[in-house]
């Protein structure tokens, strides 16, 4: 609606008046005009039992989209209140979504990854779900992993239900370990042990003077937070305090810096850029890899891969890649929309790993039978201590600063952790003080 106000204030009215003449709109909301497409004929009649149209925007590859469409069909069949209409966005989801929301054409419900939730919520474009959830006897939030709910909230209000969580776990190539006669990693490992083994696994197998097997690999992934958090630090705290130059954070950065620039246990930066981070692991040239739970690292043909939780520092923590299902504040009938959002999210929990609902902890292998048992177990375990970003309305600016001033120079080896952390902290403070 705000965008509508904008339009009129911009002197476009005269222009639009010409065009709107051929458009018999009665309500201000145009989203409803565009649903035609796939629906069965009955929906467009003005019958009394008409189902509400719910536009649902999602990302995904073609196969995923087809599977999701089946889920949507299933949910639609069970409901006589609404009909969900799937909108797919091929690529560059944030830009495409932002344009639709700004253009007064917001989907009723949509995927939103964690780094955008606070930004959207802060701009009042998301439906506040707090009361709906409180009044809903069927939905018990306490079954969700706590941190996934935190990431879906902003300013003590709940704006979404998490539909997927992807904690980082440690995959390892069993054959490489066997060959070197080293014990497999397990949950007792800390960073020192991890680094030692990574160094031991780095070898020149064919004696041509070039290293062709590495113990580990990292190149901006997992996020630098992984190391900072594990030593008890943070980049920006949940209430907006810049902590990236705290002693704890710097301790974490020292570990990452050693891995990147001292240990020589990872491939050179441009080798990784050329050959792909995960691809090198899949090609059997990397001993250990920190990957997301949904990655297909453990099902490479002819390769023996198992997984465990990531090494611990001062704390046991791992990065969690999360996305939530949220609703537009502009949606016509919030009650129905909430119902659709909830039903759709719960349906997705039976389709995507890891479901953020602790009651479904045992279902990982049912959902994704191609996962190995050790990986499934590592994921479920990791969910207990996995953590998403702090969530700040300016998360994008924060991430850009962290990448430009911290992660990227660390990778290139152009500064000490202390210097880089201080520079980053200064930039972040400037940004956050501006408000």
């Amino acid at each position: 609606m705000k965008a509508g106000k904008l339009v009129s204030s911009l002197g476009m009215v005269s222009l639009l008046a010409v065009m709107v003449a051929c458009n018999d709109e009665s309500s201000g909301n145009n989203a409803e005009n565009n649903n035609g497409g796939n629906n069965n004929g009955g929906n467009n009649d003005e019958g009394s039992a008409e189902k509400a149209n719910i536009d649902f925007a999602a990302w995904g590859g073609p196969e995923e989209i087809n599977e999701l469409q089946e889920l949507v069909d299933g949910v639609n069949e069970k409901s006589d209140e609404y009909e969900i209409n799937l909108i797919t966005i091929a690529d560059d989801y944030p830009t495409a979504l932002q344009t639709r929301v700004a253009g007064n054409n917001a989907p009723d419900i949509f995927y939103l990854s964690q780094e955008w939730v606070s930004t959207y919520a802060n701009s009042d474009v998301l439906l506040d779900l707090t009361e709906y959830v409180e009044n809903d006897e069927d939905l018990e939030l306490e079954h969700y992993y706590e941190d996934t709910i935190r990431v879906s909230s902003y300013d003590d209000k709940l704006y979404g239900l998490p539909w997927i969580s992807n904690p980082v776990i440690l995959y390892y190539n069993v054959d490489i370990f066997d060959e070197a006669g080293i014990d497999y990693p397990d949950e007792s490992w800390d960073w020192d042990q991890f680094r030692d083994v990574a160094k031991e696994l780095t070898k020149d197998l064919n004696d041509d003077g070039r290293t062709d097997q590495w113990g580990f690999t990292t190149h901006g992934w997992p996020p630098t937070h992984q190391w900072i958090w594990s030593m008890g630090g943070d980049v920006v705290s949940q209430d907006g305090e810049v902590l990236v130059d705290s002693p704890e954070s710097i301790e974490g950065l020292e570990i990452l810096n050693s891995i990147l620039n001292e240990d020589e246990s990872i491939p050179a930066s441009n080798t990784i850029e050329q050959q792909g981070l995960a691809e090198m692991f899949k090609a059997g040239r990397i001993g250990m890899f920190m990957g997301g739970a949904a990655d297909d690292l453990d099902r490479v043909e002819g390769m023996n891969v198992e997984a465990t939780v990531v090494p611990k520092g001062e704390e046991r923590v791992t990065f969690n890649w999360l996305a939530s299902m949220v609703a537009s504040a502009d949606t016509e009938d919030p009650d129905v929309t909430y119902q659709a959002l909830k039903d759709m999210t719960e349906a997705i929990h039976t389709w995507k790993i890891v479901p953020p609902d602790s009651r479904l902890a045992d279902t990982v292998l049912d959902i994704e039978p191609r996962k190995t048992e050790s990986a499934a177990q590592a994921m479920t375990e990791s969910m207990e201590f996995a953590r998403g970003f702090s969530g700040h309305p300016q998360q994008q600016q924060i991430d850009t600063i962290v990448w430009d001033h911290l992660t990227s120079p660390l990778i290139e080896g152009t500064g000490s952790p202390q210097e880089l952390a201080e520079d980053t902290a200064e930039q972040l403070r400037n940004l956050l003080e501006q408000e």
């Binding site: 639009l16 145009n30 565009n34 590859g61």
Partner: protein, 292 residues
């Protein structure tokens, strides 16, 4: 005296023949050198598209893949309904091309050959429309098209082409039309042609190479357009080839062989159009008889 002249003429003749010969040799050398430079990257693309993913990063790289995996093309094309995407892209690109060529030429002719009040200012405005970055008008344009219910249709991608096409084409064709001698038009006017007839029967046929360029560029531009389809199309069955490729990239970030296979198939129609319109690059159409 006469003899001497004859021999010198002979000499001049053979010198000329030698000169033409050397000229040809030089031209071929330059063509082959340039061709080589431009073919190497393309050859690499084709070679990559036929590689097994295991050998793709081998060093030194294999130029002729072993084994040759034709299946990459099958896999790339069956991963999504690419036949639909191709059909959609073809519809959008060809309908836009027709609009951009014809209305672009009409407007350009007006700016090049007709006199009217405010022409120069209006022409500067034409140019100015190219200078404001589209990123900041994107949302207002989206609001406009959504308010008339054009979202998830091809209309926002096609209709604007029928309103003068792009400023690029107007400017370009104007420059070409300006090169047409006025005598030609005067003669036609004396024969009783009206302005539109002169445009249609004289200016257009004389500008075939330029119109062919516009057709190629227009098709190429629409075929490769990514942002337009991304924000206006909602359902997968309406996707264009570029959106298909983008999905592909999202899925197989580093499956270079599949990505290359898909990209090569996607550029074939543009090459085909180029080949088709190349025949209009024939020299000297407009000069027959009028000049000299």
């Amino acid at each position: 005296m006469a003899q001497k002249q004859a021999t010198s003429q002979n000499k001049a003749g053979s010198r000329k023949a030698l000169k033409t010969f050397l000229n040809k040799v030089f031209v071929y050398m330059a063509l082959f050198a340039g061709g080589f430079i431009f073919l190497v990257p393309f050859f690499w693309m084709v070679s990559t598209s036929l590689k097994d993913s295991a050998v793709i990063f081998q060093f030194p790289p294999q130029w002729i893949p072993d084994p040759i995996v034709w299946g990459n093309y099958v896999e790339a094309m069956t991963f999504a309904p690419f036949h639909l995407f191709f059909a959609n892209s073809l519809i959008i690109a060809s309908l836009s091309m027709i609009g951009e060529v014809f209305t672009g030429a009409l407007v350009a002719y007006g700016f090049a050959k007709l006199e009217f009040k405010g022409k120069n200012v209006l022409f500067i405005i034409v140019l100015a429309t190219m200078m404001l970055p589209g990123e900041v008008t994107m949302i207002p344009v989206f609001i406009m098209f959504s308010s008339i219910g054009w979202i998830d249709t091809f209309l926002p991608l096609i209709v604007p082409s029928y309103f003068g096409g792009s400023a690029f084409f107007i400017f370009m064709l104007r420059q070409f039309f300006l090169g047409i001698p006025n005598e030609l038009e005067d003669a036609a006017r004396i024969d009783g042609c009206n302005t539109f007839q002169i445009f249609y029967k004289i200016a257009l046929p004389l500008s075939k190479p330029a119109l062919a360029v516009v057709a190629i560029f227009s098709f190429h531009g629409k075929w490769n357009d990514f942002l337009g389809p991304l924000i206006y199309l909602n359902s997968m069955e309406k996707y264009t080839v570029q959106l298909g490729l983008a999905m592909f990239q999202g899925m197989f970030q580093t499956e270079w062989s599949l990505l290359m296979a898909a990209s090569i198939v996607a550029l074939l129609p543009v090459l085909l159009i180029f080949f088709m319109f190349q025949k209009y690059f024939i020299e000297g159409i407009k000069l027959s008889g009028i000049k000299g």
